[in-house]
């Protein structure tokens, strides 16, 4: 199971659960260059295990830089469908402006 906690100002928390067989990965905090690699390793097993749908729950993801975009981009290539649930306006706008909204689904 993907679990990650990092302390400090740029801390990030990653938790995975399953909802009706679909992996739901909650990512909270700030996702950037300093922790993108750790997040990547934390979710790797879940992602490579699952070819269909993966949900990222990001209501508490308060910041993301291009490292986060890179991470999401690579996941969209590994599974059939990626859903981003409850993105904050900051994350939503970044996804739109980088064209990633063409390859993943944001809900609502």
């Amino acid at each position: 199971m993907a679990e990650l906690n990092t302390a400090g100002q740029d801390g990030i928390t990653v938790r995975t659960r399953h909802q009706d067989g679909t992996p739901v990965i909650s990512v909270a905090g700030e996702l950037d260059l300093t922790n993108a690699k750790e997040v990547r390793s934390a979710i790797e097993a879940v992602v490579s295990d699952h070819g269909q749908l993966i949900v990222f729950e990001v209501s508490d993801l308060t910041f993301m830089d291009s490292s986060g975009i890179a991470l999401l981009a690579s996941v969209t290539r590994q599974v059939r469908e990626v859903e981003l649930r409850d993105p904050t306006p900051i994350v939503r706008r970044l996804i739109e402006m980088t064209g990633l909204d063409k390859v993943l689904r944001m809900t609502p």
């Binding site: 700030e30 260059l33 308060t62 910041f63 830089d65 291009s66 975009i69 890179a70 981009a73 690579s74 969209t76 290539r77 590994q78 306006p89 900051i90 706008r93 970044l94 739109e96 402006m97 980088t98 064209g99 990633l100 063409k102 390859v103």
Partner: protein, 164 residues
Amino acid sequence: MASLHFAGRAYALEGYTPQVILDHLAQTLDVAENGHFATVLCGLVDIAAHTVRLANAGHLPPVVSSEGQSAVVPVKPGPPIGILDGSPYEESMVTVPPRGVLIAYTDGLVERRGEIVDAGIKRLQEAASHDCGSLGELLDRIITELTGDSPADDIAVIGLEWQN
């Protein structure tokens, strides 16, 4: 990344349009293979006509500044290169007036924690609206005003100025 750079140059030398260049580049890179992807803003400049024909793979939009006014260039982003979405990129045309400047930049220039990216682009527009003498001075001013002395990310800024 160097291979992407040289491939882009080669396609440009072949005379392809920005849209076709991005469509081709999209076939050369797959983020699933080695984790590499790139946002690319590709422009074909017509110096005499004062126009730039643009296609955009996930890059933040350029800004045009002229006579104390600046505006974001509406250029629809397709996904970054490396995602292999398969759908073609779109093109748009921007006209830069005499003594106007087109400014393109990487995300580190405008991104700040806790705020929507539009707020940073707005700051860029304000900084770009000042009449600064030379293009070099304008770019220096933009970088200083937006990042202070300690940029959090590496930053690239390109300015294209029409002197008449």
